[in-house]
Amino acid sequence: METKTIETHHVPVRYFEGGKGEPLVFLHGAGGVTAEDPFLAKLAEKYHVYAPLLPGYGDSQECGELREMLDITLHTWDVVAALGLKDPILVGHSMGGMIAAEMAAIAPNDVSRLGLICPAGLWLDDHPIPDIFAMLPYELPAVLFHDVAAGTALMTAGVALDDPEWLKGFLVQNARQLGMAGKILFPVPDRGLSQRLYRVKAKTVLVWGDGDKLIAPVYAHSWKKAIAGAELVSIPEAGHLMTLEKPGHVAAALAKLG
């Protein structure tokens, strides 16, 4: 994947681009995405992939002007326009799925294919989503992965907790990335989307890991009910970060969008 920057109304936006085929825009989750992400590589086998970073993610510039859901939804439309795309396949993972669904609800005639990978944005009182903002790094793998041991190894590669410089870098990255994510996910990741989902006209595929311990699979049914005609693909032995655990399976599920 190539790393590029594009100007938008509010802020220059970093994005990764690669692959050949139909244009597909991928919106990352609260943990961000890198150019080396195996899921992007998988998608690039079939599509022309654009993966923009939300301001503050990776090395991208922060944007104080983006404060709430509508700001972020419209900004992401600005990104699609700046990339010169019209009705790309729109795919989002977790927080990115929430943004993608908002985009499809606010401009239903501009999105005809929507892929939602265990999206955030709904809240069920009987199934509260664990508070990732109140978790210490070592506690995250247990809620993010099906295979916790493998997930832990993945997350702790290159970690040097006893190095103050590493720690400072980590805290700065957290403040930039999760600080931004918090604007739509903190303290409860519900910004009223359930009232707007009826507007979505896109052909929609929902992909959920059977072993998702962050946003439990029961949420998939609420999404399916809220978007007319949505198709649900369940992936066995996959957790919330199934784009890392099962990139091939997730990409295959999205192929149902045509």
């Binding site: 109140a134 210490l136 805290l171 700065v172 600080g179 604007k183 903190f186 303290p187």
Partner: protein
């Protein structure tokens, strides 16, 4: 010097195995550890202590705001301050403070502080903290990255609500009010304002620009505070503030006084240990929500003030706590020397004396407080002769104040209204 007797109001019945059995004293602390019937006595004896301190020559008595917190059972300091306003007559009422981003709308703070100032005859010293991440983000749900912007707007709104004599419209980002016109208005114009901070340059500048006193309310003592306070004074010099008055700064310090150093350890060490081991047992995930502190602050290397020392507090013995300055304890002479080091070293004119510690019973607390007031405080009074008339950061009570309970006798009423006795 301005000495404030400050009470955090810790819950004194946290069990011995609190650290082992519970993950946090704050945010998700087990509600079953709170006993409402016992709290009746706890609240009243704490308020008695504050009032007692008010009779001993302290300049102020102080309260603060925490939520869902086992070491601070004061979600509303204004309720306590209202009680104190009626039962004290001369001492300053230091409310340090109200987390103004949490009040909806924030004119509520303008109103309640005005009420406190009016009831007390101009004795209010007001504090506007951003609030800890535990209180502000985790308990009260404010979005971390927007907390400071919301705080700033609340501040601007409160200041204008106090000073603008006419009704005005407020079209803020976080507050839309068509008719702001608070009633009552404070006696002091405005009450002195203290801002608790944790080392961010933005807060230094905010205090310098507005002539507010910067206070560092840490529990880790004056030795560790040196770098942070020096950062503040460097900034004061850099920004060409008109003076370096020590009253531009305040510091909270845990203090225990006994007749001798040995006696101090014997009397107080278990209560100090209770505070540092149980009361400060905060789950790390609640210490600092991402986005709550600015990038600039993180980059200056300031760790959250709630970050425990490496290894945690449990490994610190009484000797460690004393030597590292977390606690100043000992005979009046020992405490006096150490307080001088603190006051000179940090250049602070406002001292928030944490003389009640952990689960300290009232008799010990009175003993320590009285010794401090009589045998330590008088020797520290004249430390900043150049600034002895600097009253910018302290309350200015009305010269003539009423006493509570001054209704006419029932007998006189009968005569006044023409009744027969």
């Amino acid at each position: 010097m301005k000495f404030t007797w400050f009470n955090l109001m810790p819950w004194p019945y946290l069990p011995d195995d609190f650290r082992e059995k519970h993950r946090s004293v704050w945010v998700d602390i087990d509600s079953r550890l709170f006993d409402p019937a016992k709290s009746h006595e706890v609240y009243n004896s704490y308020m008695d202590m504050l009032e007692y301190a008010g009779t001993l020559g302290f300049d102020g008595i102080g309260v603060n705001e925490h939520h869902q917190n086992g070491y601070g059972i004061m979600p509303s300091p204004n309720i306590i301050a209202a009680g104190l306003a009626r039962r004290t007559s001369d001492v300053g009422l230091v409310v340090l403070g109200n987390s103004i981003a949490l009040y909806n709308p924030p004119v509520r703070v303008a109103e309640e502080f005005a009420m406190l100032d009016c009831i007390s005859g101009g004795r209010l010293v007001a504090g506007f903290p951003v609030g800890t991440s535990m209180d502000t983000n985790y308990c009260y749900g404010q979005i971390p990255a927007l907390t400071r912007e919301k705080y700033q707007e609340a501040h601007d709104l409160i200041r204008r609500a106090w000073s603008d004599p006419d009704p005005f419209a407020w079209n803020g980002r976080y507050n839309k009010l068509r008719h702001v016109n608070i009633w009552p208005r404070p006696i002091q114009d405005p009450p002195p304002i203290h801002i608790p901070g944790g080392g961010s340059v933005e807060t230094y500048d905010f205090c310098i620009d507005n002539t507010y006193s910067y206070s560092y309310l840490s529990f880790s003592g004056y030795i560790r505070a040196k770098a942070l306070m020096q950062g503040y004074w460097d900034r004061v010099a850099q920004r060409n503030a008109p003076d370096e008055s020590p009253y531009r700064a305040g510091f909270a310090q845990t203090i225990c006084v006994a007749d001798t150093d040995e006696e101090a350890e014997r009397l107080y060490s278990e209560h100090v240990s209770y505070f540092y081991n149980r009361c400060l047992h905060v789950y790390g995930g609640f210490a600092d929500a991402p986005g709550y502190r600015t990038i600039k602050t993180i980059q200056t290397g300031a760790l959250s003030q709630y970050a425990p020392p490496i290894g945690g507090y449990s490994e610190l013995t009484w000797k460690d706590l004393i030597e590292q300055g977390h606690v100043i304890a000992g005979s009046p002479e020992t405490v006096r020397q150490r307080m001088e080091d603190l006051i000179k070293g940090l250049n602070v004119g406002n001292i928030f004396c944490l003389l009640h510690v952990g689960n300290m019973p009232m008799d010990k607390c009175m003993h320590s407080t009285k010794l401090f007031a009589e045998k330590v405080m008088p020797h520290l009074r004249g430390m900043f002769p150049d600034y002895k008339d600097d009253n910018r950061f302290w309350c200015k009570p009305l010269a003539k104040r009423v006493k509570p309970g001054s209704l006419p006798a029932e007998k006189e009423i009968a005569a006044m209204v023409g009744g027969k006795d």
